[in-house]
């Protein structure tokens, strides 16, 4: 006898999760599958290690924070947060209804300043605004 056909559930995967409903770090959907959850790392760049102290006057080094791990959003989750966040935020600005705001978009950015000699002995003080992720969305 012919079996009644089951009503197919509409596939959910075509829906982009609404940004407010992105799974967060405490959502067990991350943990339970054993994937590495997104964590913040610190990478200290020592100018001394790089042998650059003969031309960099200050600072002695630079702390960069970056995220590494599994973040559930459509972009490549292997990039570091600095690149990651800026790119995701830019794409979200351009296509707000297709690309959600990155869950680890930087919530606090700070500037970096560096003082160094150029090759003509001039002393240069450069400040880059909104360049260093101090805290990102995941944490």
């Amino acid at each position: 006898a012919a079996r009644p056909l089951k009503r197919r559930q509409p596939k959910k995967s075509n829906e982009l999760p609404h940004p407010n409903k992105l799974p967060g770090i405490f959502d067990d959907r991350h943990g339970s599958h054993g994937r590495q959850v997104c964590r913040r790392h610190e990478l200290y760049v020592s100018f001394q290690d790089l042998g650059w102290l003969d031309w960099v006057i200050a600072p002695q080094g630079y702390s960069a924070y970056y995220c590494e791990g599994e973040c559930s959003f459509p972009l490549d989750s292997c990039m570091n947060a600095t690149n990651h966040a800026i790119l995701q935020s830019l794409v979200h600005l351009m296509k707000p209804d297709t690309v959600p705001k990155a869950c680890c978009a930087p919530t606090k950015l700070s500037a970096t300043s560096v003082l160094y000699y150029d090759s003509s002995n001039n002393v240069i003080l450069r400040k880059h605004r909104n360049m260093v992720v101090k805290a990102c969305g995941c944490h």
Binding site: L50, E68, S72, S119
Partner: protein, 245 residues
Amino acid sequence: GGGPGPRPPHSCPQRPLGARERRDMQREILAVLGLPGRPRPRAPPATARLPASAPLFMLDLYHAMAGDDDDDGGGAPERRLGRADLVMSFVNMVERDRGLGPQEPHWKEFLFDLTQIPAGEAVTAAEFRIYKVPSTHLLNTTLHVSVFEVVQEHFNRESDLFFLDLQTLRAGDEGWLVLDITAASDRWLLNRDKDLGLRLCVEAEDGHSVDPGLAGLLGQRAPRSRQPFMVTFFRATSSPARAPR
């Protein structure tokens, strides 16, 4: 580039970064610092040079700038910095005196090489800083110190000058004299390969020209920590687009 919808999770590298990856990441982060590459200073290492006047002044500015790095959210910026995000100090290359001797007027000229100014930066302020000690020749009279830009030199007549700033002080004063030369920045940004010439003139109250050296203004022969220099404050005119890795 695929359609919307969650993508299959990537497996991230779980191992610590390798030496090459670490170096690549450091190099990229230093690019964030706006360090285009490692310049080859033509002089001894930074620490040996530090007592010079320009680095000392810039280090002072660096501490002020670094102090407000964290609250980029727009606290009151350090007064001297305003909204500058690049400050360059230039040490003068050539100093010419038309000083001792009967002919007037007396003046002192400084030439600066500005070829290192990066494109895309707008000058927000520019200063010429020269140290003055108490004059041992002039009683405590009033002096007028003016600075001009040497727009064009002629071999058979006086140079074309453009007035920039005037400061009045006492012959017995001591300290850094700061002269505003911002007005000259339009011209030097238009032709970067030309050195910037500044001429300093000193006049007494009665209008007679005074030799800047006798007035106590120090030139290149001053101790390193008191040599004259120029400092320029820039603001980036277009935001640099970072290339994603």
